[in-house]
């Protein structure tokens, strides 16, 4: 821990680069996330039918669907970054090579970029397919950014926990959804406001507080989760 800050940054950047390099070799998470999100979007849009096209009618329920698509896509792709380390037994090497907090930040940055890419793909498609008008585009972007950050931070910590347990896939859903529920409620409320043109109010502050709280908890708890 007493290593200089530059070493720490270099370690975090190395973890981040390693994650993307191994991701680009297999493109497992990218394919899973994108295909999962598009599949769900098609199912949602096809089953809603013309309701999605009626302006004002669906704007109460549609933000919920957008965030559910993002949540489930994240649950399908994000846990892999830790589960893979345990399955291929590379976790020990990683424990020796990097400071836990640097490792956490590297993995968090990876999850963050992955989610940002997913949001950049899903959100415009969703708006187009549902024929939605956004009254406050800035608020929508801010919500996607803050919500994506919280989603990445919560998922990264829970993924580190479940990677060491049995029944990883289902356990990730069981453990992460209660953690991510406040985020989901706030993000849905803000997205609804962005569609309808309502001011963000205190919800955006609470969402940012949630992001800060979960990131701090992650930085404090990750070392004990990661190292015996």
């Amino acid at each position: 821990m007493s290593r200089p800050a530059s070493t720490w940054v270099r370690e975090a950047a190395a973890v981040f680069a390693k994650e993307w390099r191994s991701e680009l070799r297999t493109r497992y998470a990218l394919n899973t996330l994108a295909l999962f999100a598009i599949n769900t979007l098609v199912v949602v849009s096809a089953s809603l039918g013309p309701l999605g096209a009626a302006p004002g009618k669906g704007s109460e329920a549609l933000p919920v669907l957008l965030w559910l698509i993002l949540l489930f896509a994240a649950a399908a792709g994000l846990p892999r970054s830790f589960v893979h380390e345990e399955e291929t037994q590379t976790a020990t090497a990683l424990r020796l090579a990097a400071t836990p907090s640097a490792l956490f930040c590297g993995k968090l940055a990876y999850a963050l970029t992955l989610l940002a890419a997913l949001e950049a793909l899903v959100a415009p498609l969703f708006l187009a397919v549902m024929n939605l008008d956004v009254a406050r585009p800035g608020l929508l972007v801010a919500t996607l950014a803050a919500g994506g950050f919280g989603l990445a931070a919560g998922s990264t910590l829970v993924a580190a926990i479940i990677a060491q347990a049995r029944g990883k896939g289902t356990l990730f859903a069981v453990l992460s959804f209660p953690v991510l529920l406040p985020l989901l409620l706030l993000a849905v409320e803000l997205t609804r406001g962005a569609f309808a043109g309502a001011p963000p109010g205190v919800a955006l502050v609470q969402l940012l507080l949630y992001d800060g709280a979960v990131t701090t908890a992650g930085l404090m708890l990750f070392p004990v989760v990661w190292n015996p």
């Binding site: 020796l96 347990a165 409620l185 609470q206 701090t216």
Partner: protein, 279 residues
């Protein structure tokens, strides 16, 4: 002699709660604007919710103690903190379910439906789901030290996340729930007699929680010790069955975990599981 001394507080708690029950029905008046006798549920429902809240905070504190508490140099984390955290969550879930059920019964009388996603109902259900997930996590880790560590981290995360339920949810939806005892204006607007019974009941339920918590922790400790002894061959296999029925779970992995550089075998004071050796 020692037993008499130990049971004196228990007798006092028993008398205290009996007095609370009598007070709730005979001493406290009925609240205005409530159907029939339904306001009397206040004296049991609110303290149950309070006890559940106390339990989850207690579990968080013991989890933090387990993870970051002081330990003698070179020694392992103290398993008793882990047992205390687990016991607190189990008892807390009991009180939480009771508070939810009594609330639903009252809601049926006053609002006409058992469940209507009132913010209070939503928050408590989310808290119950969170701590239910904690128990699910415990059941899916085999190594005792790892199980304790991961579960403690999750419970500590709960300390950070669950307060958001209480801030966020009530703001989003409209609530029919009666005002908290200390309302938003910072004043206590309640009949003094009702308040006396409520506070007495709150104290009684808090003591009840700590007593149950102590019992559960001791049962877990004894069960684990019995399991250890049975694995060493001191008891017949039946004793081990009883111990695991009481909630003790030894490590099922007799070999050191390959992903654990220090060796899980050394980190775990409990001997290999009787499931593999004695059954």
């Amino acid at each position: 002699m020692k037993r008499t001394v130990a049971s004196a507080p228990r007798l006092l708690l028993w008398l205290w709660l009996a007095a609370v029950i009598v007070g709730a029905f005979e001493y406290a008046p009925l609240a205005a604007k409530f159907i029939g006798q339904s306001s009397r549920i206040l004296f049991f429902h609110v303290p149950m919710a309070w006890a559940a809240f106390t339990a989850f905070i207690t579990a968080g504190v013991y989890s933090l103690l387990y993870l970051f508490g002081r330990r003698p140099p070179g020694s392992l984390r103290q398993a008793r903190h882990d047992r205390a955290a687990r016991a607190a969550i189990e008892v807390g879930l009991l009180f939480g379910v009771l508070a939810t059920v009594t609330g639903a019964v009252w809601s049926r009388i006053m609002w006409g439906a058992y469940w209507n996603w009132d913010p209070r109902q939503t928050s408590i259900v989310m808290a119950l789901i969170f701590y239910g997930a904690y128990l699910a996590l415990r059941d899916s880790v085999e190594d005792a030290e790892k199980r304790a560590r991961l579960a403690a981290a999750y419970a500590a995360l709960g300390l950070v996340v669950t307060p958001f339920f209480f801030f966020v949810v009530p703001r989003i939806t409209f609530s029919l729930h009666p005002e908290p005892v200390i309302n938003a204006r910072g004043r206590i607007e309640m009949n003094p007699r009702m308040l006396q019974v409520l506070l007495a009941s709150g104290a009684g339920f808090t003591a009840l929680f700590f007593w149950l918590h102590d019992l559960r922790t001791r049962v877990l400790t004894l069960a684990e010790r019995a399991l250890e002894a049975a694995a060493a061959g001191a008891y017949p296999a039946d004793a081990a069955n009883v111990a695991s029925a009481l909630g003790a779970r030894a490590s099922a992995a007799p070999h050191p975990n390959p992903s654990d550089p220090r060796g899980a075998g050394a980190a775990d004071p409990v001997a290999p599981s009787p499931r593999t050796s004695n059954w």
